[in-house]
Symmetry: C2
Subunit: 416 residues, 2 copies
């Protein structure tokens, strides 16, 4: 008998107050137990995962997706390390963000507190299951996980293992629950569980985000697209620019922090750009450029306005030559998706202006956009990358899973 | 020819980047000029306001609303002081919230940045016009103000004065705009100005909040109800409890931080409660209590479940006697609206548990709930009081009008 999403959320909400009150040592012991349990259960987990992979193969699933789905022992080790890295973070709950005294003697403290129930809808990768469970536990929240049907066996097995570990650590097992039904209905049920879900994070493509925007009545944070840019300024170190652009485009083109459009100052168009594009082409990258790119490197195909707006997630790069810094900023603010934007320059003023004027979650000065990632930021794991402005922006770690409350201490003050 | 909301929002968005880059001194000079201009224009403003008041009176508007609508010279002085108090706050823009270095040498800074365009839909009080304009300017945002039709003349006159002051201070006048049409359509247009409005704050009653929840496609923060409680614990100082309860209920019963339900530990039911209720009754407060209240003070009428859930905003108080601290917490977390909740106690452990276990924006220990207010928190003015958990909670000042971005400084780091 399938449980309803509402029942799952009610159980999560019921244990949320206890989770909010757990001390850090208990939560860390739970996270260590979860990591240990994943390693101990590696055999069973790979068996459950093989079922998912076999079914997916039989359905003609793409090789990329099959790769994301597959659990190997090194990936399980990575999931365990992720849980340990989360345990090593400071406990965000109870952190006093600020405190001040008022003229009437009241002391006001702004204190970090868990959100309550966090729901995450995600796609094939089973490692998300343990990442989310770990981040939510450490931040004092109950998690409701809704993975994709293609990974259902794997996720059920992982969650069973994690709940066993919680139990052994004296933590309510309903701190981590999986929705055992990966239908569209269960997703919409989560989106509309108003009053039960304090935060919903969708980790998926455009269709999922559209569905959230159309249906959600619960608060959510969009984990959005990444039409990422790098601007190579006239004062750029050319070798550094080449290294960063090649890395951002080719190291893992299918992810949201990969480079999609290169913006180049005109002073670099003749002297540096052709060599870079030769190198990218040799690495299998298709180049789509504006007119001036075509002049500098005739093998480029002509870019259209659609190219500027497209997140290829593939070995394709749009390239535009600009006459000024302002033109570069205008292009990036127009077409960027507020995820990660980079600049290569040796000029401090230009770098500072770029950081101020670009409207994005993360701005990289002389570094690859591929670092837009919770793990790379030192968060142990990430719940997603916010491309919105409210609550959290950029890679989201533990603090993004908390809210604050004001605690006001007095000695009988009344208002006159 | 009435301008459309979209055109107004476009102009706001167009000047937002310039506002984001303004230094604090320029913004403060603008705020001082706005304050000065309000005083200088006091004559014209009261004339414009008298038209609104006359029309409202002719329409049979209630005395309470007429009072809220009326601009007096002392209220104009208060508006000017509010602007000066906002000028005296630290500039939130550019504040480095946190910064750390990664093992690979990257330095990550989390920096506060404006949201962009902030829209506020509000009711009769014209002072909100200058408060919101001032808070938005100081936080580097463009404001789009949509007041109620009853105050339209007053608001138009105020905004004209404020824009003149901006102009004299060299700040784009479109930093502050009023929607010159207070129809339902203009409100819905603002709620659906997706991509143009970065934050919408509704300051109004249940109908406005419902409309936002039904229609809004732009991000919003609910400035919500206040079904506020005070729990008088067994370890309470009785004189302090009386003073705080009387203040929270009677000092200004029509506002969201006024007391609505008193929760009393049973040990105080016979010894202290009757005297308190005598005092409240003498001040004109109607008492609705549970059975044990009726035993202690027979003049109380019987409270129903509806009373526990009602925000009276009037001289009515619901009173409940509980057998334990846990029972008090459960009642408050069930019926509270996450605005302001108070406790009176001399016991430190009880106070700390209350602060941790109550799920609300502001928790008052031995102080009146009436202090849940941006001005009383020292914010100069407030954009509202958030009763939601995401982004901002409790009284919202300048920081609630900002987001953060990550600026990552490198020397050529790439990801391996």
């Amino acid at each position: 008998m399938a449980e309803t999403v509402t029942e799952i959320c009610r159980r999560a909400a019921a244990c949320a107050p206890e989770l909010a009150g757990l001390d850090g040592a208990t939560k860390d012991a739970g996270l260590q137990a979860m990591a240990e349990a994943l390693r101990d259960a590696a055999g069973d987990l790979t068996i459950a995962n093989k079922e998912d992979v076999a079914t997916a193969e039989a359905q003609g699933t793409s090789q990329t997706l099959l790769d994301r789905l597959t659990l190997t022992s090194s990936r399980l080790e990575g999931m365990a390390s992720g849980l340990r890295a989360v345990a090593a973070q400071n406990d965000p709950v109870g952190e006093v963000v600020g405190a001040w005294r008022r003229p009437n003697g009241l002391t006001i403290e702004e204190v970090r507190a868990p959100l309550g129930v966090v729901a995450v809808i995600y796609e094939a990768r089973p490692n998300v299951t343990s990442d989310v469970a770990g981040l939510c536990l450490k931040s004092g929240n109950a998690s409701v996980l809704r993975g994709s049907s293609i990974a259902l066996n794997s996720n059920m097995a992982i969650v069973e293992v994690l709940r066993g570990a919680l139990d052994s650590a004296g933590i309510p097992v309903d701190a981590v629950q999986l929705v055992p039904d990966a239908s569209r209905t269960s997703a919409v049920d989560l989106m509309t569980a108003k009053g039960l879900v304090d935060l919903l994070v969708p980790r998926g493509g455009a269709a999922l985000i559209k569905s959230i925007e159309d249906n959600a009545t619960v608060p959510y944070i969009i984990d959005g697209d990444g039409n990422c840019h790098i601007y190579v300024d006239e004062f750029a170190d050319e070798a550094m620019a080449t290294s960063i652009v090649v890395n951002a485009k080719t190291q893992r083109p299918s992810v949201c922090n990969a480079l999609e459009t290169l913006v180049v100052h005109e002073s670099k168009a003749a002297v540096w750009l052709p060599g870079l594009l030769d190198e990218l082409a040799a690495a299998g990258v298709e180049i789509r450029g504006d007119e001036r790119v075509g002049e500098a490197w005739p093998r480029a195909t002509a870019a259209t306005d659609e190219d500027w707006a497209t997140e290829y997630l593939d070995l394709v790069l749009a390239v535009r030559v600009v006459g000024s810094f302002d033109e570069a900023v205008a292009h990036i603010n127009r077409y960027g998706t507020a995820n990660a934007e980079g600049i290569v320059t040796r000029d401090l003023t230009v770098a500072r202006r770029f950081a101020t004027e670009i409207d994005a979650g993360s701005i990289f000065v002389n570094a690859s956009t591929r670092f837009s990632d919770g793990g790379e930021f030192g968060y142990g794991a990430e719940i997603g990358i916010s491309t919105q402005k409210l609550h959290a922006r950029g890679p989201m770690g533990l603090r993004a899973l908390t809210s604050t409350k004001y605690v006001v201490w007095g000695e009988g003050q009344i208002r006159s």
